[in-house]
C-alpha cells in the first residue's frame, strides 16, 4: 500500500502542517479535545478559539454519541449532557467553521463511526471539508473497515487519524500507519479516556513501534492532564493530546478555565 504520509500528500494535510510548524519551533504540538455542544455549540466555539489562542496547534471536536465505548466518566458525562440538550450532528460543522474562521489551528472531528454512516460517508466528508475541517479521528473504525472513508478522505483532502495501541501487532501497526494521513494517534495505555496520575511507559514503546512502521508523525493521547505529563511525552512524540482535563475545565470554569489550562499545558511542549 502506498503511504499517504510519505508520498508528499502530507504537504496538503492540515494536521501535518500544524505539527510540522511546532516541530520547526523545536517543540511538540498540543492537541486539545472538546465535545461539541457542551455546554452549548457557541461555548464550544469560544472554548476552541481560546484553545488556539493559548497554545493549542490542533483542536479535536468530539461528536456526542449515545454509545461512547472508548470514553471514561468525564467525557461521557459531558456528551450525555450535550445530547440531552438536543445536540444534533450537523451542528458539528458550525462548530468547526466557527473555530477555523477565527484561528489558524487545524480542526479535526473525533467521532464514533455510526453518525458518519447515518449521514453518508461522502456527505459527511464534503460538509467537513466545506467547514474548513482537517479530518477525522475515528476511535471505533479500523483501516480494515474503512474503504468508504479512504475514498471520501482522498476526494476531499481530509486527514485520516487511526489509532494504534500497546496491543497492536507489528503487522497491524504497519497497516494502520499506511492507512493514516496527517498523523497517527498512539493510545498511551490499554483503557478509556480520563486523567491518570502517571502516563504509562507503554506510550513510548507504542510511538517507537509506530515510527518503526514508517509513521512520520505520532501523537500520544489518553490520560494526559498536566504540564509535567506533556513535557514527558513531548520528549519522544510529535504531539500531545489532552481531553478529559480540558472537558473538566469547561465544566468547572468555562472558557476562562480552558484558556488558563491550555496556557499551562503548553509550557511542557518545548523539548529540553
Amino acid at each position: 500500500m502506498t503511504t499517504a504520509q510519505t508520498t508528499g500528500k502530507s504537504a496538503t494535510s492540515k494536521s501535518a502542517i500544524a505539527i510540522d510548524k511546532a516541530r520547526a519551533e523545536g517543540r511538540a504540538a498540543l492537541i486539545g479535545y472538546l465535545p461539541a455542544g457542551y455546554p452549548s455549540a457557541e461555548e464550544t466555539i469560544a472554548a476552541g478559539i481560546a484553545l488556539a489562542r493559548n497554545g493549542a496547534d490542533l483542536i479535536e471536536i468530539g461528536i456526542p454519541y449515545s454509545d461512547p465505548v472508548m470514553d471514561g466518566p468525564v467525557i461521557q458525562a459531558a456528551t450525555t449532557e450535550a445530547l440531552a440538550k438536543g445536540f444534533s450532528v450537523r451542528q458539528v460543522f458550525d462548530v468547526v467553521a466557527g473555530i477555523t474562521s477565527q484561528t489558524d489551528a487545524a480542526v479535526l472531528v473525533m467521532t464514533y463511526w455510526n453518525p458518519v454512516v447515518r449521514m453518508g460517508v461522502d456527505e459527511f466528508s464534503r460538509r467537513l471539508a466545506e467547514a474548513g475541517g482537517a479530518g477525522l479521528i475515528t476511535p471505533d473504525l479500523i483501516p480494515d473497515e474503512a474503504v468508504e472513508w479512504m475514498d471520501a478522505s482522498e476526494k476531499y483532502g481530509l486527514d485520516r487519524v487511526f489509532l494504534v495501541a500497546p496491543s497492536s501487532t507489528p503487522e497491524r501497526m504497519r497497516r494502520t500507519v499506511d492507512a493514516s494521513r496527517g498523523f497517527v494517534y498512539a493510545v498511551s495505555i490499554m483503557g478509556v479516556t480520563g486523567a491518570r496520575s502517571s502516563v504509562s511507559s507503554a506510550a513510548q514503546d507504542v510511538v517507537a513501534a509506530a515510527k518503526a512502521a514508517g509513521a512520520e508523525r505520532v501523537c500520544v493521547g489518553l490520560g494526559v492532564s498536566t504540564a509535567e505529563q506533556v513535557a514527558e511525552i513531548a520528549a519522544y512524540a510529535d504531539g500531545v493530546i489532552v481531553g478529559s482535563a480540558l472537558v473538566a475545565a469547561v465544566r468547572d470554569g468555562g472558557v476562562d478555565a480552558v484558556a488558563k489550562l491550555t496556557k499551562d499545558l503548553s509550557t511542557g511542549l518545548t523539548r529540553k
Binding site: S66, D67, T80, V117, D140, A165, S167, G191
Partner: protein, 441 residues
C-alpha cells in the same frame, strides 16, 4: 425509514442460494453479506484475533469437541426434549406443534450452551477472569454458573435499573460467586451494560475474556456464539424426523440479539421446504415507537462491533428499545439475521407485548409449561403461522402441517411480571407491593 431495504422481500436471492447448492450453514464471518465485520477500537483487535485463533483451533480439536459434548450431556442435561403440544396446537389452526425444550436445560434456558463453550475457550487462552453483560440477568446467571464450574473470576455488568427490578437475579449471581456491577451511564439498560463491559475489556484484556451473551458484536462473536447454539437445531432436526417422520413446514423462534434463533435456524437453513420465522419484540406496537423490532423497522448501522440493522435516529444515535421481555429489549440484532432477512431466507415479524402474554397464558393452561416471556413471542408467532398454514391447506389438511417452536427458556423468572399483567395478586399482598415496583419475585 424509507431507505431501509425491505426485510424478506428478495425471494429470488434465496432461491438461487438453495437451488444453486450454496449452503447457508456454517457461515464463518467476518461478513454476512453486507453485515458483520469489526467496528471496534484498535486496542481490542489483538484480543479478537486471539479469540478467533483459539476458536478455530478448538473446533478442529477432538478433545474440545468431546469436552463440550460431555458438559452438554452431563451438566446441561442435553439433548433437550422435543415435546408435541397437542392442546396448545388446537389454538393454532389445528396444525401439529412441537416445542424444542431449551427451558429444561440447566439454568433454565439456551444460554448455558454458549457460556460453557466460551468459558472453555477462556481457559484455553489462559484467561482467569470473564466479564459479561446482562439485561434481566439470564446471561449473567449463566455466565456466573459457567465461571463457578470452571473456576474463573466473574464480573457481570447490569443496568442499575435492571439490578433494582431483578434483585433476586443479582442475588443468584452473587450466590454463584460473581460480582455484579450496576451501570449508571447512559440509559442504564442492556446496551449501556455492553458499553461498560467493553470499557472493562479494553483495560483488562490481558487476563480477561468478554463472554458476550448473544450472536452479535464484532467478529468472531456472531459465528462463535452460533457455533455453540447449533446443537439446538441439530437436535431438533433429528428429533422431528424421528417423531414425525419428516421435516417441519415451519420453524419459529424469538429474536432479541438472536442467539437462540440462529441456533435452531441453523439446523434448517439448507432445507428449502422449511419456512423460517423470527419474531421480534413489538412492545406496545411498532406504530407506537415503543418496541424492539430492529429488523422490521431499523436501518443498517454499526453498534457494538458489527454492522447490522439498528434502531437509530436520523443522527445515528441509538434509540432505546421497549419490550415487556427484558431478553428481547435490545436495539440491535446479530448480523447474520440481518443477512438472512435481506436474502429472504428468514421472515422477521413483530409480536406485541399483549400477543406474547396471551400466548404465555395459553401455554400455561394447555400444556402445563410456564414459558419465558421471550419464548412466548415465538409461541404467539407460531399461532399466526399455524393459522396461515391451516388456511392454505384447508381444515382437513391442517393436521398434516408441522411447526417447530424454540421454547428458549422457562418462565419462572417472569412470574412477577405475569402476575401483574394478569392482575393475579391480592392487592394487600407483599408480592403486589413488590410487583408494582417491577421487582422479580
Amino acid at each position: 425509514m424509507a431507505d431501509a431495504p425491505t426485510a424478506g422481500s428478495d425471494e429470488g436471492t434465496v432461491d438461487a442460494f438453495l437451488q444453486g447448492g450454496t449452503s447457508l450453514r456454517h457461515a464463518p464471518g467476518p461478513y454476512f453479506g453486507a453485515y458483520g465485520g469489526r467496528w471496534m477500537p484498535e486496542s481490542l483487535i489483538a484480543a479478537l484475533d486471539e479469540l478467533e485463533d483459539t476458536f478455530e483451533k478448538a473446533k478442529a480439536d477432538p478433545g474440545f469437541i468431546a469436552q463440550i459434548a460431555d458438559l452438554n450431556k452431563n451438566y446441561s442435561g442435553r439433548p433437550s426434549l422435543l415435546t408435541e403440544a397437542k392442546r396448545f396446537a388446537e389454538h393454532a389452526g389445528g396444525v401439529r406443534i412441537f416445542l424444542k425444550r431449551e427451558d429444561l436445560n440447566h439454568t433454565g434456558s439456551h444460554k448455558i450452551n454458549n457460556v460453557l463453550g466460551q468459558a472453555l475457550l477462556a481457559k484455553r487462552m489462559g484467561k482467569t477472569r470473564v466479564i459479561a453483560e446482562t439485561g434481566a440477568g439470564q446471561h449473567g446467571v449463566a455466565s456466573a454458573t459457567a465461571a463457578a464450574l470452571l473456576g474463573l473470576e466473574c464480573v457481570v455488568y447490569m443496568g442499575a435499573e435492571d439490578c433494582r427490578r431483578q434483585a433476586l437475579n443479582v442475588a443468584r449471581m452473587e450466590l454463584l460467586g460473581a460480582k455484579v456491577i450496576p451501570v449508571t451511564n447512559g440509559s442504564q439498560t442492556l446496551k449501556d451494560a455492553i458499553n461498560e463491559a467493553l470499557r472493562d475489556w479494553v483495560a483488562n484484556v490481558g487476563n480477561t475474556h468478554y463472554l458476550l451473551g448473544t450472536a452479535a458484536g464484532a467478529h468472531p462473536f456472531p459465528a462463535l456464539v452460533r457455533y455453540f447454539h447449533e446443537v439446538i437445531g441439530e437436535e431438533a432436526r433429528a428429533q422431528i424426523l424421528e417423531q414425525a417422520g419428516r421435516l417441519p413446514d415451519a420453524v419459529c423462534a424469538c429474536i432479541g440479539g438472536g442467539s437462540n434463533a440462529i441456533g435452531i435456524f441453523h439446523g434448517f437453513l439448507d432445507d428449502p421446504s422449511v419456512k423460517i420465522y423470527g419474531f421480534e419484540a413489538g412492545g406496545d406496537g411498532v406504530e407506537t415507537g415503543r418496541h424492539a423490532a430492529t429488523i422490521t423497522l431499523g436501518r443498517p448501522g454499526v453498534l457494538h462491533g458489527a454492522r447490522s440493522y439498528l434502531m437509530q435516529d436520523d443522527d445515528g444515535q441509538t434509540i432505546e428499545s421497549h419490550s415487556i421481555s427484558a431478553g428481547l429489549d435490545y436495539p440491535g440484532v446479530g448480523p447474520e439475521h440481518s443477512y438472512l432477512a435481506d436474502i429472504g431466507r428468514v421472515s422477521y415479524e413483530p409480536i406485541t407485548d399483549s400477543e406474547a402474554m396471551e400466548a404465555f397464558k395459553l401455554l400455561c393452561r394447555t400444556e402445563g409449561i410456564i414459558p419465558a416471556i421471550e419464548s412466548s413471542h415465538a409461541l404467539a408467532g407460531a399461532i399466526k403461522v399455524g393459522q396461515r398454514l391451516a388456511a392454505e391447506g384447508g381444515a382437513a389438511g391442517a393436521s398434516d402441517k408441522i411447526v417447530v417452536v424454540n421454547l428458549s427458556g422457562r418462565g419462572d423468572k417472569d412470574v412477577a411480571t405475569a402476575a401483574e399483567w394478569f392482575d393475579l395478586l391480592d392487592k394487600n399482598s407483599a408480592e403486589a407491593a413488590i410487583g408494582k415496583e417491577g421487582e422479580q419475585l
